[in-house]
């Protein structure tokens, strides 16, 4: 049953891809086919993977083809199924949204090609999450990377978009290269490309090889996940894509890196040495903090969200790092807690980041700009979009009672418990990571005050914003699905943690949910000896009851005594949008406090006619420095270009020379083969 559902999902996506390509001359039909197939495929995939999580034994989905080179090998074990559920829920909401979102592009862009790559991306994602053979995995991975590339560069007439696409492609392939080496090392040790032959294999290898393979996988998958310092493509590529694609990219495509790490760290490795967990934890902290710090300086709404993806990947990695360390130290239950925290946050991030990108997409479509400084007052013009975006903003800031709070709380609990697990100095890592997580979360809250308030509140800052129109019904429906998801994953935390039992059972041999759920499902506990409890459902219930009992009746009574009046404007004639606080002004204190990191540069030019005290025009320019781009990748790029220049010499352009090269290579390989 599971196999049939999964396969029909794949077939529907494939058919959708082909059909929309065939219909490229009829934009309306192409749009319906694209979104319909994507939605249907997602629902089938959701049914298959939800059933697979609880089915007990992993579902091996065979097909009657395959040859020594290309093998169809698909296996839905709990971990794969969990990531597939994440994919399916997000993809369903995004497809629903796309019904409305793509309408604007009808007749102006090739929706057939879009639909082809869109469905192909969903298909390849499902296969990446389920492939059980290294070769098949890498093929699915490449299909995913290429279809992402074409979707990112969809609006290719802009140079910025093309550059972002190329950067994405280069980084992505650098990552695949590292992964390929790591898989080859594993394959040569096991004699097979099958994932099941890799199970616990890495831990049996010599220490040096083990470490090298670990780092290759960490950085290989890290490129896709957007870890600092491999993140540079992410804030370029995610914003330039169409917004429904951005939602998928940030929501699920970068999670393939997380999936890969989970697969390697908790399936291929048994009990890894402590340093591996330490490295992952440290990289997680760095990504989380730098991601949010750069996000704060951003006033391009979609770029801001992209930086937050780096932050959230960091938070997920903190959970992974803690889980690895606990496993190395022999604390199975704590490892399960940390792993649950990381995976829970993975799902949560897919929900709220998908939601925020869809919201941003609606806003960008309505105002024709990504610059927050030109928005404002949209809550009145677009009430549903505003409410959905607010839900996403509260959730991503980790505030109770929504889902972000639950997974961050679990992460804190894992870090808190970590201090007692070892006597060595490594234990200091845990509280320091915890306090930096607190800083990250608080800065994220500051950033989302800005990201919600500047576009949606106060007066419109441009004519486009003043005339913005609410998003169409399918777009609102797509956002509503994800907003409900954020609320449900927050309030239903005690119900949802049971999903992790099969995963932790398979990865660590521990079923944790019975220890995590307390007071008949009302409260969540970390399952450690004394961790305190939390009840998001209880908090929400109290808010609702208090609101119904006091807020509503009193507010109605007070509204009779209230009048509308102008805002205090210091006696100047009338408040205009020019007087409002801007996004740049909002983050100015932090720009000054962290100036050592940002190295801000600003330039003010005032033009005046009579006296400098009465300027007729002022030009203000402010810019921050992206440290990694400038100090790490700048020199690297120069080095590579210089090397390429030097290698130009062997490119003679004559076919005889190339034939000679091939001949020499062949001889060398033969000699090598004979010797070996």
């Amino acid at each position: 049953m599971i196999a049939e559902l999964f396969l029909s999902g794949i077939v529907v996506w494939l058919a959708g891809a082909m059909a929309s390509l065939a219909l490229w001359r009829q934009p309306a039909a192409a749009r319906r086919v694209t979104c319909g197939a994507a939605l249907a495929g997602s629902l089938l995939d959701l049914a298959a993977s939800a059933a697979a999580i609880f089915s007990g034994s992993p579902a091996v989905i065979g097909l009657p083809f395959g040859n020594p080179v290309f093998t169809w090998a698909v296996r839905l074990d709990p971990l794969s199924a969990y990531f597939n559920v994440t994919l399916a829920v997000l993809a369903a909401a995004v497809s629903l949204y796309s019904f409305g979102y793509l309408r604007e592009m009808e007749g102006r862009r090739n929706l057939g090609a879009f639909g082809f790559f869109f469905n192909l991306l969903l298909l390849s994602l499902a296969l990446v999450f389920t492939a059980s053979n290294a070769f098949f995995f890498l093929v699915a991975w490449e299909v995913m990377a290429l279809s992402s590339f074409f979707l990112i560069s969809f609006e290719h007439e802009k140079e910025k978009t093309r550059n972002a696409g190329v950067l994405f492609l280069i980084m992505s392939h650098a990552g695949s290269g590292l992964m390929l080496i790591a898989f080859l090392v594993l394959a040569s040790a096991s004699g097979s490309l099958d994932f099941s032959s890799f199970h616990l294999l890495a831990s049996r290898m010599p220490a040096l090889q083990q470490g090298v393979v670990f780092l290759l996988f960490l950085f290989g998958f890290g490129v896709k996940a957007g870890l600092v310092p491999l993140h540079i493509w992410l804030p370029e590529a995610h914003p330039v894509a169409p917004s429904n694609v951005s939602a998928l990219m940030s929501g699920i495509v970068i999670k393939t890196g997380i999936y890969g790490m989970a697969r390697v760290f908790f399936d291929f490795y048994g009990a890894p040495p402590v340093w591996m967990g330490t490295v992952v934890l440290a990289i997680g902290v760095a990504s989380a903090l730098l991601g949010v710090l750069y996000a704060l300086m951003e006033h391009d709404l979609k770029r801001l969200l992209a930086w937050h993806s780096i932050e959230n990947i960091g938070i997920i990695l903190m959970g992974f790092g803690a889980a690895l360390m606990f496993r190395a130290l022999g604390h199975g239950n704590l490892a399960a807690l940390a792993l649950i925290a990381a995976l829970y946050h993975t799902f949560n991030h897919a929900m709220f980041k998908g939601l925020l990108f869809l919201g941003a997409g609606s806003v960008v479509q309505a105002t024709h700009t990504r610059n927050m400084e030109k928005m404002g007052g949209l809550i009145r013009r677009m009430p549903v979009t505003a409410l959905c975006f607010l839900v996403g903003a509260v959730a991503i800031s980790g505030l109770p009672p929504l889902n972000g709070f639950v997974s961050e709380w679990l992460t804190y609990q894992a870090l808190l418990a970590g201090f007692g697990t070892t006597q060595s100095l490594t234990r200091l890592m845990f509280p320091i990571a915890g306090s930096l997580l607190a800083l990250t979360a608080a800065l994220a809250a500051a950033c989302f005050v800005k990201a919600f308030a500047i576009p949606f509140l106060a007066l419109p800052r441009s004519a486009e914003a003043a005339e913005a129109r609410e998003a169409s019904f399918p777009m609102r429906a797509g956002m509503a699905v994800l907003a409900v998801g954020c609320v449900a994953l927050g309030l239903g935390a005690t119900w949802f943690v049971r999903v992790f039992d099969p995963i932790t059972q398979q990865a660590l041999g521990v079923r944790a949910s019975s220890a995590l759920v307390m007071a008949r499902g009302l409260a969540l506990s970390p399952g450690t000896a004394h961790g305190g409890t939390i009840s998001t459902a209880g908090i929400a219930l109290i808010f609702l009851l208090a609101g119904a009992a006091f807020a509503v009746p009193l507010a109605m009574r007070w509204s009779r005594r209230s009048v509308k009046g102008p805002v205090w404007d210091c006696g100047l004639p009338g408040l205009t949008a020019d007087n409002e606080y801007t996004a740049t002004a909002f983050s100015k204190p932090l720009r000054m406090i962290f100036s050592a990191l940002y190295r801000p540069r600003r330039e003010i030019q005032a033009e005046f006619e009579v006296s400098p005290h009465y300027p007729s025009a002022i030009r203000f320019e402010s810019e921050i420095e992206l440290t990694f781009e400038k100090r790490l990748y700048g020199p690297l790029r120069e080095r590579i270009m210089a090397m390429a220049n030097r290698m130009k010499g062997i490119q003679a352009g004559s076919i005889n020379v190339y034939l000679a090269y091939i001949f020499i290579t062949l001889i060398l390989l033969l000699l090598f083969g004979v010797r070996g």
């Binding site: 007052g377 809550i379 800031s397 980790g398 505030l399 109770p400 709070f405 709380w409 609990q413 808190l416 201090f419 007692g420 200091l428 509280p431 320091i432 915890g434 306090s435 930096l436 607190a438 800083l439 608080a442 809250a445 500051a446 989302f448 005050v449 308030a453 500047i454 949606f456 509140l457 106060a458 007066l459 307390m518 009302l522 409260a523 000896a529 004394h530 961790g531 305190g532 409890t533 939390i534 209880g538 908090i539 109290i542 807020a551 007070w558 005594r561 209230s562 009048v563 509308k564 805002v567 205090w568 408040l575 007087n579 409002e580 606080y581 002004a585 909002f586 983050s587 204190p589 406090i593």
Partner: protein, 317 residues
């Protein structure tokens, strides 16, 4: 089972009453004491109650530019603060709503209130509101890591992050306060308390319409009952943080249960300790001048350093 439920109800109602009734008094006591120390006569101790009563009876002016966020914020701030207050041990170690959340939930509920307050500051479009929101979010973000380090230290000492367990572990061990880790953590948390409640040297609670203001700038557009709710919530937040500080580090007089003579004794101890802490705050506010905004990060860096010292001393001593 039924009896247990009724007991819980009584605890909840008593603590709720204490929170709501005591909070303006603490504000009043601090104001009066501060005035006396500065050889002014100052307002009556009960003035905050009168202010609240007056504001609740007044009408309100809602800015034309504001959205529903402006009307929802006072309620969210008020409810989240009170809810956080019910999660901390005040009279007995057993917090009435301890099951609903521990110290992390308290911090994040206060964070929820702050989030909406900052939104409402930007909602009206007034530049003052934006200025206040920006500063409030900056300072609270910088205070967070120090607070978390101090709490980690306390939790490590007590073996738990549950406030009930922390207070329970501390009852009857008065020496614990003198342990170096606890003292450093106390100092760190005290600095955070000053920043979070907007007191001198971080913010001046007595200013209106000054360019240095933070909290007051954010709520400048509020009037009437909504302003009363926000002011009340601010004093409850101050009471919650003060109680958290004294009951985690100096649990003298904290009771095991809520009933009988013990509860009265517990309330008496709580009042005495609050008075003492108020005196310390008054002294600090009087001998210090307000800092420039960009000096505040340095103060919070000191708090962070103290928190780190606290952590290191947990296994040095």
């Amino acid at each position: 089972m039924m009896e247990r439920l009724i007991d819980r109800m009584i605890e909840n109602v008593t603590q709720l009453f204490l929170l709501l009734a005591l909070a303006p008094l603490v504000t009043g006591v601090i104001r009066t004491l501060k005035a006396r120390l500065q050889t002014r006569r100052g307002p009556n101790i009960l003035q905050p109650y009168r202010d609240l009563g007056k504001l609740f009876r007044k009408g309100m002016v809602i800015p034309e530019t504001a959205s529903w966020i402006f009307a929802a914020t006072p309620w969210i701030v008020f409810f989240s603060t009170v809810l956080a207050g019910l999660m901390i041990p005040m009279v007995a170690a057993d917090a009435p709503l301890g099951l609903f959340g521990g110290v992390l939930a308290v911090i994040y509920l206060l964070g929820l209130g702050r989030f909406f307050l900052a939104l409402s500051g930007l909602d009206s479009g007034s530049s003052f509101g934006g200025l206040g929101s920006s500063r409030e979010m900056t300072i609270s973000a910088l205070a967070e890591p120090a607070m978390m380090l101090a709490i980690f230290t306390v939790a490590i000492g007590a073996g738990s992050a549950g406030l009930t367990e922390i207070a329970g572990a501390a009852i009857g061990q008065n020496w614990r306060f003198l342990a170096p880790a606890q003292m450093f953590a106390f100092a760190a948390l005290a600095l955070v308390l000053i920043a979070e409640t907007g007191r001198i040297p971080v913010d001046n609670p007595d200013t209106h319409l000054e360019l240095t203001m933070i909290h007051e700038a954010m709520i400048l557009e509020y009037s009437g009952p909504y302003l009363a709710l926000i002011e009340w919530a601010a004093s409850i937040k101050q009471l919650v943080l003060m109680t958290l500080l004294i009951n985690c580090f100096w649990p003298v007089g904290l009771q095991h249960t809520w009933f009988g003579f013990g509860a009265l004794q517990g309330i008496a101890w709580l009042l005495a300790k609050l008075l003492l802490l108020s005196c310390a705050i008054v002294l600090l506010e009087t001998v210090n001048a307000k800092m420039r905004l960009f000096r505040v990060p340095e103060l919070l860096a000191v708090a962070f350093t103290l928190g780190s010292l606290a952590l290191v001393s947990t296994f040095l001593f």
